[in-house]
């Protein structure tokens, strides 16, 4: 009967969502988002703790349609506030490593050095492009999630990600030319 189905549907959707469920499902994603901005474990975990504290204060978690996007939004803002206060990490050693190496670019640097270089280059991007490209580096984040987290249309996410990548490529090329 239709009324029975609607009752079952209501019962399923009305099931309360616990904070424990949300933590187990999205804690790592939130951590990665925080790390992509602050670039160190300690700050990233602080941001994760603060994010879930704020989530519990909200109260009714079942009212949130997309928990991932909602948590990422909170963590993103906290991470940006933290980064404003953090000093920039020098990348001069990376240039010397590139000069001294005969390897191709994608193999000349260690993973850590590559991340540091990219981080510095991404920091020079315009804010609207920067936030999209950083969130797109988190594997769990789809374009829909990014759009909801940033409050922009999904089409804008794809356009901005493409423009950001092109700009990064230009900046990297310029930077490598300067360091020759």
């Amino acid at each position: 009967m239709a009324w029975q189905e609607s009752v079952l549907e209501f019962a399923r959707t009305a099931t309360s969502v616990t904070i424990e469920d949300v933590v187990h499902e999205h804690a790592r994603t939130v951590f990665r988002v925080a790390y992509s901005v602050v670039r160190n474990h300690a700050d990233a975990e602080d941001i994760v703790q603060e994010t879930f504290l704020r989530a519990t204060r909200h109260g009714r978690l079942e009212e949130i349609e997309n928990h991932r996007a909602w948590l990422v939004k909170i963590a993103w803002r906290l991470a940006l506030d933290r980064v404003k206060r953090a000093p920039e990490e020098p990348i001069d050693g990376i240039a010397s490593a590139l000069k001294s190496s005969e390897e191709p670019l994608d193999k000349a640097l260690s993973d850590r050095q590559r991340s540091r270089l990219l981080h510095q280059l991404i920091a020079t991007l315009p804010a609207d492009l920067r936030e999209v490209i950083v969130l797109s580096t988190v594997q769990e984040m789809s374009s829909v999630d990014i759009a909801q987290a940033l409050g922009i249309p999904e089409g804008s996410v794809r356009n901005r990600a493409l423009r950001a990548r092109q700009l990064l490529k230009q900046k990297l090329s310029v930077w490598l030319e300067r360091k020759k």
Partner: protein, 179 residues
Amino acid sequence: MKQWDEESLDRFLDDGLSQFAQEAPREGLEQRIMANLAAERSRRWQRWIWVAAPVFAVLLVAAILWPRPSEKIATPQTAAYIPAPSISKRPASAPVRVIAVKKHAMPRSQRRVVETATASPRLSTFPSRTDESQGQLLLRFVQNNPALAQQVVAEEEEFQKLAYRNSAPSETPNGERSE
């Protein structure tokens, strides 16, 4: 020669961006988060206790010291002495009716109840009696003491007869006055 062509740059960016945020947190992240949330709940309760305890203490003291309605002193209005309305004093010429009451066949002179037409004396006790007319007083007396009232009436009639006989001299059949 450095291999910094387009292909290298693309590979560099692809690899770099794919690994950019792929850091794993320290083991037990979820447990640490839940422990922190539990500690926050506990801290919130403690904060509430620190706030609620003094408030509760103040309310308790206020409840104990607050005067209750039954302890309040009666308003002056309820305890006020209501004076009996002034009644004009008995005119000097008004006679004082003396009603003789014979009780248990005792002589009239031994038992007398005097009621005056004047206002009742003001009582020192509260509440003061409101004024009643002489007729209402008499009516109440008759209602409360019917037998006695009948006796009083009978005595009054006899008294009136005696008073009339004494006032009007009688004549003997021989024409002589008798005292």
